[in-house]
């Protein structure tokens, strides 16, 4: 309030003198609009590369649109009704959600544990912290190809090691659950360290005196972790969960390159690990070139991500609500 009064004050007598008036008006325009100009580049770029494609994709999804054809015909919501009755589409939704759960849950728990470890007094602390990020800097394609070979049926290292301990080789690429596990392993290998570092950064923002007070009260490390660290990390955990949700539901490179050879876009002979983005690609591009149908898949994917993200937030809020009074007490205690 005070700030506003200050700026208005000198402007009131302005009509009597033109020069301050002009300067005042210019500076007013400046204060009023330049912030928008400063942030405009992002929004302009987003409009061109984000919003416009989004809208155009929706427009395309309302047509029977052959990628090479010249005259797409408007079909309204036909693509969507057909898609909702398409068993292969729902199969890919289940695959996507399955891989998402199998990869994200252990990934975030592991990241939390890693971050907690890295937050202690360790020798070569910076070295360890940097090391966990190394998988993240490697190229996804390279990782996927290497994992694809590791999980090979006959020449793969994993099956070879299983064989050493007397377990029969697993059909990693044509068994539905096994392929989910293999792809999740790939995702986790890449992203656990990244999440761990984000958790670590948030952990370091937690005041030390909370822990000291807790220690004086007799809380052991596990107790400190669950009643101080985890509750205070809640916003960070929500952030990581949402980011993982978006990434996990749009999983493409890993499962696509995990399969090689003819028609790898199916994700296995019976679509064992075909994700929604792969199904979208299969329809919009080879071998169907049905751009309209593929666009409809893209929009349903968008809707699904929004729904899952909302569910995530609700669950985490609920979990957080249980922990909140506890935190309150701790804070009170430390004061």
């Amino acid at each position: 309030m005070a700030l506003q009064l200050d700026t208005r004050g000198p402007a009131t007598p302005a009509p009597r003198d033109t020069r301050p008036f002009r300067a005042g008006r210019l500076s007013r325009i400046d204060t009023k609009y330049s912030p928008y100009l400063y942030i405009a580049p992002f929004f302009v770029i987003f409009a061109i590369f984000g919003a416009w494609p989004l809208a155009y994709t929706f427009w395309v999804s309302l047509h029977d649109w052959d990628l090479l054809g010249s005259n797409p015909t408007f079909v309204g919501v036909d693509n969507y009704t057909q898609l909702l009755a398409d068993s292969d589409f729902w199969h890919s939704v289940v695959n996507t959600l399955g891989i998402f759960v199998i990869s994200t849950v252990p990934q975030l728990l592991l990241a939390l544990w890693l971050a907690n470890m890295l937050n202690r007094q360790l020798r070569l602390r910076t070295g360890w912290r940097m090391a966990v990020l190394v998988p993240n800097v490697t190229s996804t394609a390279a990782v996927a190809i290497v994992f694809g070979v590791l999980f090979g049926r006959e020449f793969g290292m994993i099956n070879w090691m299983l064989d050493l301990v007397g377990i029969d080789g697993i059909e990693w690429k044509s068994d539905r659950f096994a392929s989910w596990v293999a792809i999740s392993a790939m995702v986790d290998w890449r992203w656990t360290g990244y999440n761990a570092l984000i958790f670590l950064a948030a952990m370091q923002a937690i005041p030390r005196d909370l822990y000291e007070a807790a220690a004086i009260d007799g809380a052991n490390r596990a107790r400190q972790f669950w009643t101080i660290t985890v509750p205070l990390l809640k916003p960070t955990i929500i952030f990581c969960v949402i980011i993982s949700t978006i990434g996990g539901l749009q999983l493409f490179t890993e499962p696509r390159l995990f399969h090689s050879g003819t028609n790898a876009i199916r994700g296995g002979p019976m679509r064992e690990s075909q994700t929604m983005t792969m199904y979208m690609f299969e329809n919009a591009f080879a071998p169907y070139y049905n751009f309209g149908y593929g666009s409809a898949v893209a929009w349903l994917l968008f809707a699904l991500i929004a729904i899952v993200a909302a569910i995530n937030v609700l669950i985490i809020r609920r979990l957080g609500a249980g922990a909140r009074p506890d935190t309150g007490r701790r804070k009170g205690g430390s004061r």
Partner: protein, 435 residues
């Protein structure tokens, strides 16, 4: 709707790089250099064997520079890219290769390509096998979008070292006599299997199925998945069912190594000599050499294919309308698809000419292939080429073929029994055709 929103920075970097590439003229297609030199870009998949021909052409035409993209690549990755370039109206090369199975789809929208009949290609008709010429022609016969490169005459490639180990003959005449029919091929396979060499008799049932179905259909009505009026006939065409049943017998006899074709495992299996035979269209010889590597040189040989003849694959060269150097590109494809071009490609990488003049040329008829134990490849593949009965490919041929081959694969892997597999093949093929 980017694929990786986690990577906002990466995405920005990508966009920036893309913009840089576009402004610096690396965005594909062709640009005229300041000195009047024209660069022609040729988009291919697999091994077309044109390197020396390019050099020859550039020497004769000093103002032209030729760049080939996609050499050795997989058709599955090439065709969606080509389609995207055509749809976007930008990005395609001045010359593009089109595989016969996809020709029908591209012909459905012929305006994406230069009509070669407008550029004096009509007089070249006699340079090609008639059916090959017709494949490049639209249904109304008014637009010619592609000139033929190779045809996929069929044979059976085999490893002599594994055959010797199994106590089977190794001489190519004797081996050919082992399998006049596919039943005999299975019997031979059972003998091979009984010898326990540690290798399978064949690589994957899908490739073998494709060979059998094209052969059976070629010898019968001349169509497989679609009849010549473009009706889907997967479930009613006896040729398809017959090929399916023969393939099921191969699978039931336990002869397949189940290496998914063109996968990493398939390539490894070549390297480690894990199978003894592979159905082998002429262009496959280049693939075998590339996958099995120099250490297997002289260990492979080529026999006649069981059954009778057949054709699998083969391509055309076309000029997209978006090309900025259409005239020069047309000249280049006329050269590459001349008898001389066909012979040069055959010598380099083995694709069999679709030009009758080239097929009669001693350079072909007397050609041998050192990698394949000096097998007379010109004679083996060339013999049947002129009498070859082509198979008609319908509008969604590629998608339907994928579904049927996938059904073969599920049976091969033991996920479905032959009856379920056949039902899957029909249901999924119908679904694919309707999309």
């Amino acid at each position: 709707m980017g694929i990786f929103p986690r990577h906002r920075l990466a995405a920005v970097a990508l966009v920036a790089t893309g913009a840089l590439l576009a402004t610096s003229g690396c965005g594909g297609g062709s640009e005229d250099a300041g000195d009047g030199t024209i660069t022609l870009t040729v988009d291919v998949f697999g091994q077309l064997g044109y390197e020396q021909l390019y050099q020859q052409y550039m020497d004769a035409n000093p103002g032209v520079k030729i760049v080939e993209r996609g050499t050795g690549g997989n058709l599955d990755e090439y065709s969606p890219k080509l389609t995207q370039w055509l749809a976007a109206g930008k990005g395609a090369g001045d010359v593009v290769a089109i595989e016969e199975g996809l020709m029908v789809e591209y012909k459905a929208n012929p305006d994406n390509f230069v009509n070669l009949l407008d550029h004096g290609a009509g007089e070249l008709k006699g340079n090609f096998l008639e059916w090959k010429w017709n494949q490049g022609l639209t249904a109304d016969g008014k637009q010619l979008i592609g000139l033929g490169t190779d045809v996929g005459g069929m044979a059976m490639c085999y490893r002599t070292d594994l055959f010797a180990q199994a106590g089977l003959p190794t001489d190519r005449e004797e081996v050919s006599n082992l399998w006049p029919t596919w039943e005999d091929y299975i019997t031979t396979g059972e003998k091979f299997k009984a010898a326990n060499t540690g290798a399978s008799f064949l690589d994957a049932a899908t490739n073998t199925f494709n060979t059998i179905v094209l052969q059976t259909a070629g010898n019968a009505q001349g169509y497989h998945y679609y009849d010549t009026s473009d009706n889907l006939v997967v479930d009613s065409n006896p040729a398809v069912k017959q090929a399916w049943d023969t393939t099921m017998n191969i699978i039931n006899a336990g002869l397949s190594g189940k290496y998914g074709s063109w996968s990493e495992e398939w390539v490894s299996a070549f390297k480690q000599a894990k199978f003894a035979t592979i159905a082998c269209p002429a262009w496959m010889t280049g693939v075998i050499e590339g996958n099995a590597g120099p250490e297997a040189s002289g260990k492979w040989d080529i026999a006649r294919v069981p059954g009778n003849g057949g054709n699998w694959g083969g391509s055309h060269l076309a000029v997209p309308r978006q090309s900025k150097n259409q005239e020069e590109a047309i000249k280049l494809i006329k050269f590459l698809t001349s008898a001389e071009g066909h012979i040069g490609a055959f010598k380099a990488k083995g694709p069999l000419p679709s030009s009758p003049q080239a097929l009669d040329d001693p350079a072909i008829t007397e050609a041998t292939n050192a990698y394949f134990s000096e097998a007379p490849v010109g004679k083996i593949f060339g013999e049947g080429a002129k009498t070859l009965k082509p198979v008609y490919m319908g509008p969604k041929n590629q998608a339907v073929r994928t579904e049927v081959e996938n059904a073969v694969r599920t049976v091969e892997l033991g996920q479905r029994n032959p009856e379920q597999g056949w039902q899957d093949a029909i249901t999924n093929a119908k679904k694919a055709a309707a999309k």
